[in-house]
């Protein structure tokens, strides 16, 4: 099989309708004289026909009702399932998550909508900072915890993500409008960073766990009656979910 040579790329491009004008004419001329080229083209066409034969039946099947319902429902009501998938990953790791998962999400506030962006902004501004990524270093963790808890007005524990391979660098205070918010920063052995944004929840309403891709960054956010949480970093979703679960569990140790 001679498919892997540079010359044959043009033949693939021809078969896939990528060639125009002179380039196309060149291949047509080659095909007129070269039996091997004709054979390769035939193989490509047979493969295409075989793939269509194998998979085209799906196009004529009735679309499952569950899929149609997903597409027609409003995202927040509908996001239940996608969110539940994420949460089920979480639930495998931690018991007692039901209170977190089985809430009524109808009243999701604007806070929840804006939350991923806050974490993204924090990551963008501080995530690449070399000399001053944080105000208070990890070696003063107890102070950091007390200080941020006091400023935010909600007592919380700084989560330990070391089991997930992330060490605390430290944290800082952030303004969120005229209110204080806290930022915790973590880093893994390859210097990949992760920020965790926390603030008090003025709305006193909770919202579903949400995972979103924003270009190269992923955010995870969730809202509890007392506090709002959002994480952001260059991790994949698969990496982020266990981190979010560990953070959720860590914060929960408060009080």
């Amino acid at each position: 099989m001679m498919f892997e040579t540079i010359e044959n790329w043009a033949l693939h491009a021809f078969a896939d309708g990528e060639l125009q004008g002179e380039e196309k004419a060149k291949i047509e001329a080659l095909l007129a004289t070269d039996a091997e080229a004709r054979r390769l083209l035939e193989v490509i066409r047979q493969q295409k026909a075989a793939l269509h034969k194998t998979f085209d039946g799906v196009l004529n099947e009735d679309v499952p009702q569950a899929l149609l319902r997903s597409a027609r429902h409003a995202p927040l009501a509908r996001s239940w399932r996608g969110w539940a998938v994420a949460a089920s990953v979480a639930a495998m790791l931690v018991g007692g998550v039901a209170g977190w998962t089985l809430r009524d999400f109808a009243g999701t506030s604007a806070v929840a909508e804006a939350l991923p962006q806050r974490a993204l902004d924090a990551f963008t501004v501080y995530g690449g900072e070399q000399r001053h990524p944080v105000e208070v270093n990890a070696d003063e963790k107890d102070h950091l915890q007390k200080w941020l808890s006091k400023r935010i007005g909600v007592a919380f524990t700084v989560p330990d993500l070391s089991a997930q391979g992330y060490a605390l660098i430290g944290g800082r205070l952030l303004p969120q409008g005229a209110s204080p918010a806290g930022l915790l920063m973590y880093e893994d052995a390859s210097k990949k960073r992760l920020v965790v944004y926390v603030a008090a929840n003025a709305a006193q309403k909770d919202a579903p766990f949400k995972v979103e891709q924003h270009g190269p960054l992923v955010t995870c956010s969730w809202v509890e009656p007392s506090m709002i949480y959002a994480m952001a970093g260059p991790q994949s979703e698969a990496e982020m979910l266990p981190l979010a679960q560990a953070a959720h569990q860590g914060f929960d140790q408060k009080g």
């Binding site: 309708g17 493969q47 075989a50 793939l51 196009l59 997903s70 698969a238």
Partner: protein
């Protein structure tokens, strides 16, 4: 809020999303789960959709990203098919019809292709995406699309020919 136009355009794309998903994963139920996750994510992210670009390619990219992250996770947990094992206890399937390109043979051969080759083949040979669209969907340069594609076609052909002769030997 779901923008109604967006939702109805999305519904129209579902059959194509289902075929694409079926090409990526052979199990029909898993493929539909992938479509469902894709639809859900598309609705959540609809504000990020650039209406100047084709909706189908945008949806394909979402579906593909979900698939790749699930695939990586499965690979991590060792759920990947054991290629050597598959070769060893090859079932004596019915003799191949039509130049070894029966549905079963194609499905089996696709399962043996490395994931990046399988996806490029499905995107271009089945879904008839342009090289440029495929490059955007997979997040790689066009040159990578072309080299993966030629390797994928070459490997697929080798697998089909090998499988075909094996089957013939068994039948004899």
């Amino acid at each position: 809020m779901v923008h109604q136009d967006f939702a109805s355009e999305l519904v129209k794309e579902i059959p194509r999303l289902r075929r694409f998903a079926r090409g990526l994963v052979s199990d029909a139920a898993l493929a539909d789960d992938l479509v469902q996750d894709c639809v859900e994510r598309a609705l959540v992210k609809q504000h990020l959709y650039d209406t100047a670009r084709p909706l189908r390619a945008w949806l394909f990219a979402i579906l593909r990203n979900i698939h790749v992250s699930q695939w990586r996770r499965n690979q991590h947990f060792g759920v990947m098919a054991d290629v050597d094992g598959l070769e060893a206890d090859e079932p004596a399937v019915a003799p191949a019809q039509e130049q070894n390109l029966s549905v079963t043979l194609i499905t089996d051969a696709l399962d043996l292709l490395p994931q990046p080759q399988r996806e490029v083949l499905i995107l271009i040979s089945l879904e008839e995406m342009s090289y440029k669209e495929a490059a955007e969907i997979m997040g790689v340069p066009i040159g990578t699309v072309m080299s993966r594609l030629s390797r994928a076609r070459s490997n697929l052909q080798d697998l089909l020919e090998k499988r075909g002769t094996t089957v013939l030997r068994v039948v004899k």
